[in-house]
């Protein structure tokens, strides 16, 4: 009797190990796939526009609304079809990838640097400064991020810089919160206290003794914020309050396809798939790095 329980217990443990191992392996495979997808997008964004030329303000009415795979008037193949102005969707997606990457990177860097600065100062200074900053964050959070982005982009005019500004302004808060939380505990650590006692100026204490330990978690947030920003940019451009018509954005292409939903389903569909694939891939990587069970981030 006791042997059977032991056996089944051992079997259970074995089963658990096997399960965990397979899950880790599938998890790792998923991570590799996700990272490859992201790498592919980055390569396409960098080199794609050099290989496939695209002019956003051109029109070729002979090739309007061609279905995916059909031959254009110049004899080339439109693999993903053409839009209402006869522009090739493959070229449009490639150009859109570059736009998304530029906007995403610029806005994430802007939001990250500003958020980190505010969070470091808030957590290090504590007291009144901290309270005021936290209240300002509360106030901004009363406005949904996309709403604030719409209002800012609308009030300041639709240009690339304004869209980046609007997105950075609406996404700095998570960086500030994480930086503040880490700084609050870091400032009590011995090496920080030692630096303070030795008379190191506060900005150098923050820069050399606190900031390096805040960067890790901040990079982890970058992944999620980057995909949120890309989606927001597409959303703004979709609503017509984002990038100007002279630029190429997946959101604009999706919006343009809305007029042809009954005749040319491909125009709205493909840019959305391109966007969704990238965002899901980033989400998988982000889930992995922010996973509380992974040991690297357990300390925070």
């Amino acid at each position: 009797m006791s042997t059977t329980t032991l056996d089944s217990g051992a079997a259970l443990t074995r089963y658990g190990t096997v399960l965990r191992r397979t899950r880790r392996r599938t998890g790792r495979a998923g991570l590799v796939v996700a990272l490859s997808v992201i790498a592919l997008y980055v390569l396409v964004a960098i080199f794609g526009p050099m290989l496939v030329h695209y002019n956003p303000v051109s029109a070729n009415l002979a090739d309007r609304l061609l279905a995916p795979g059909s031959t254009t008037s110049t004899g080339s193949t439109a693999f993903l079809g053409t839009d209402g102005l006869g522009r090739d969707l493959v070229a449009q997606l490639i150009a859109g990838a570059r736009t998304s990457m530029i906007v995403g990177l610029a806005a994430v860097v802007g939001a990250g640097v500003f958020g980190l600065l505010v969070g470091l100062v808030s957590g290090y200074a504590r007291g009144a400064v901290d309270t005021v900053i936290m209240r300002i964050i509360d106030i901004q959070l009363a406005f949904p991020a996309i709403l604030l982005a719409i209002v800012i982009a609308g009030l300041f005019g639709h240009t690339l810089t304004n869209v980046v500004f609007a997105l950075a302004v609406t996404r700095w808060i998570p960086f500030a919160r994480v930086a503040r939380a880490s700084t609050l505990s870091l400032r009590e650590r011995d090496w920080v206290a030692a630096a303070r006692v030795l008379g190191v100026p506060w900005w150098r204490v923050i820069g050399r003794h606190v900031l390096p330990f805040v960067l890790g978690p901040a990079v982890a947030i970058c992944t999620i914020e980057f995909s949120l920003i890309i989606v927001s940019e597409a959303g703004l451009s979709f609503l017509g309050v984002g990038l100007p018509v002279t630029s190429v954005s997946w959101g604009q292409t999706i919006a343009a396809g809305q007029d042809y939903l009954n005749t040319a389903w491909w125009i709205s569909t493909f840019p959305g798939i391109a966007l969704a694939l990238l965002v899901v891939a980033i989400g998988m990587v982000g889930d992995r790095i922010t996973d509380p069970s992974s040991s690297r981030f357990r300390s925070q």
Binding site: A142, V151, S268
Partner: protein, 307 residues
Amino acid sequence: MGRLVLRRLAVGLLVLWGAVTLMFLLVRVAPGDPAAVLAGASATPDQLAAARESLGLNDSLPVQYLHYVTGAFRLDFGQSTTLAQPAMSAVLGHTAGSLQLIGAATLLAIAIGLPLGTVAGWKPGTRRDTLISPVTLGMQSIPNFWIGIMFILLFAGTWRLLPSAGAGDVQHLILPAVTLALPFTAIVARLTRSGVAASTTDAYVQTARSKGIPERRVLVGHVLGNSLLPVVTVVGLQIGALIGGDVVVENVFSWPGIGSLLVNAVNNRDYNVVQAAALLIAAIVVLLNLCVDLVYLRLDPRIRTES
């Protein structure tokens, strides 16, 4: 507990005042002359000056600010430049539509996400549990405006089952509400899952089981109540995101609400409506957050007795 509620109310009012101030600053910092918009493109210098005077732009900044704040708390944001009615009444006229959509989406998210997460978390590691993670990741990260368009393409275009735009009966509500609910269903499911999964090993659950209480009763009576707390918190934190999603989804489905009004106003440079709509949304967010706090107080006896 009464004191706690009062304090939350005071903080809410402070945040509202801050939101009004933020909007005032944004409008002043933004390039472009509101008087030029009001007077129109062909205005003479005299008309422009009159417009400046009527908008109070000749006053000093503190005076303008005072006018702005008092106006805001009387819900007076001036006349809409395109709709021939006061900006705030235009916005208030569109509120019911938005609330209807948000309410339907919230109910859907809870009605689907809660059971989904419970089923997954109750038996951690089983197939139905491991399946939920990629599904919710997809629901959460795929942009909702694109999903909305795909819904229109399939349900309104290809299968002709549901109307693609507008409002009216329940049929009109289905597509926008489901679109808006998707990411929140995912969030609710994920949180419920982790809450339920964590509590399956808790001592009180094992006690209940060893007393011979049927599994179903253990789950409903003991586990769910405790795993609901984080769900309520995060639903509260997500209210802003929910309303942001609503703004976008309304525009996809031409749903008559604050969101579509706001984007139209931005495109028509109707700044009074933009400000009125943005501030009303901020007020709704603050109010809903307050409600969530109160629900939280009711759910968690520890907080109730603390003060």
